[in-house]
């Protein structure tokens, strides 16, 4: 994979870890990135945030429904029934991860922007970029749960 993309994945792992430790109060352990477009994480809720700067693409946070409930309960200090807010909460997790990623990637001469989050709820679906882009999936373990963060990123634009 391109070095720039590998570096962006490292940044995304740091951003994700920071969000979990700071806002969700849970430690997570990152696994090695999986490159390419064939891997499909098993998830039922996906929060996606687009970004643009010298590179563009999107960051997605994938969770099973059970994992999403636990993340929501931990983040909001709720009891056993966070179902009415779990979709909004996962959107906010994706927003914070993408925001932290954007903050780390931006430079004074390279302004990055992010979109509002979109949520996909369901199973057995696959999101495929229509442009040529690199893709990496990073798995994280949180207690007994498996979470995934996905990065789709175009090669960096070179100034004319």
């Amino acid at each position: 994979m391109p070095i720039a993309t590998a570096s962006a994945v490292d940044v995304l792992v740091q951003a994700t870890t920071d969000v979990f430790e700071t806002m969700i109060f849970r430690s997570i352990a990152a696994q090695a990135p999986i490159w390419g477009h064939d891997t499909r994480p098993h998830s039922q809720i996906v929060g996606t945030v687009g970004f643009t700067g010298s590179s563009s693409g999107y960051v997605s946070f994938h969770a099973s429904l059970e994992a999403a409930r636990d993340v929501t309960a931990a983040m909001l200090g709720m009891g056993d029934n966070p179902d009415d807010v779990v979709v909004d909460a996962i959107g906010e997790v994706a927003n914070m991860i993408a925001g932290a990623f954007r903050t780390r990637m931006a430079r004074p001469d390279d302004v990055w922007a992010i979109t509002v989050p979109t949520l996909t709820v369901g199973s057995d679906f696959y999101i495929k970029p229509i442009t040529e882009a690199d893709r990496a999936i990073v798995g994280f373990t949180m207690d007994a749960h498996q979470l995934f963060v996905e990065l789709i990123i175009t090669p960096a634009r070179v100034a004319d």
Binding site: T22, M23, G91, M96, T103, A106
Partner: protein, 123 residues
Amino acid sequence: MRFLIVDDSSTMRRIIINTLTKLGYQAFIEAGNGREALEKLGAGPVDLVITDWNMPEMDGLDFVRSLRSTSHGKNVPVLMVTTNAANADVAEAIKAGVNNYVVKPFTADTLKEKILAVSPQQV
């Protein structure tokens, strides 16, 4: 100390209120966008406003500009909590009338530090 929390995400409003509660604060009003916040401010003053930037109907910058044009809102401390962390973003927010800036993700200590910075008499 009475807070007005302005964010279109109910999740983020709850996170902020949970954090403030941990810090010992107890009085909160919530609004889902700038327009709703201005309406709620009409019902009575608050001691500090914590607002998001990106919201539907009226975003955080337009809300703060409107707030600063009112007699009861021109001096109330305003913290902006957002993922917009570029220097240009901060400068634009300060120009609109924001007193200080909190970048998500944030810790309770960071929020406390920012509250004390904009409202030092409210310990």
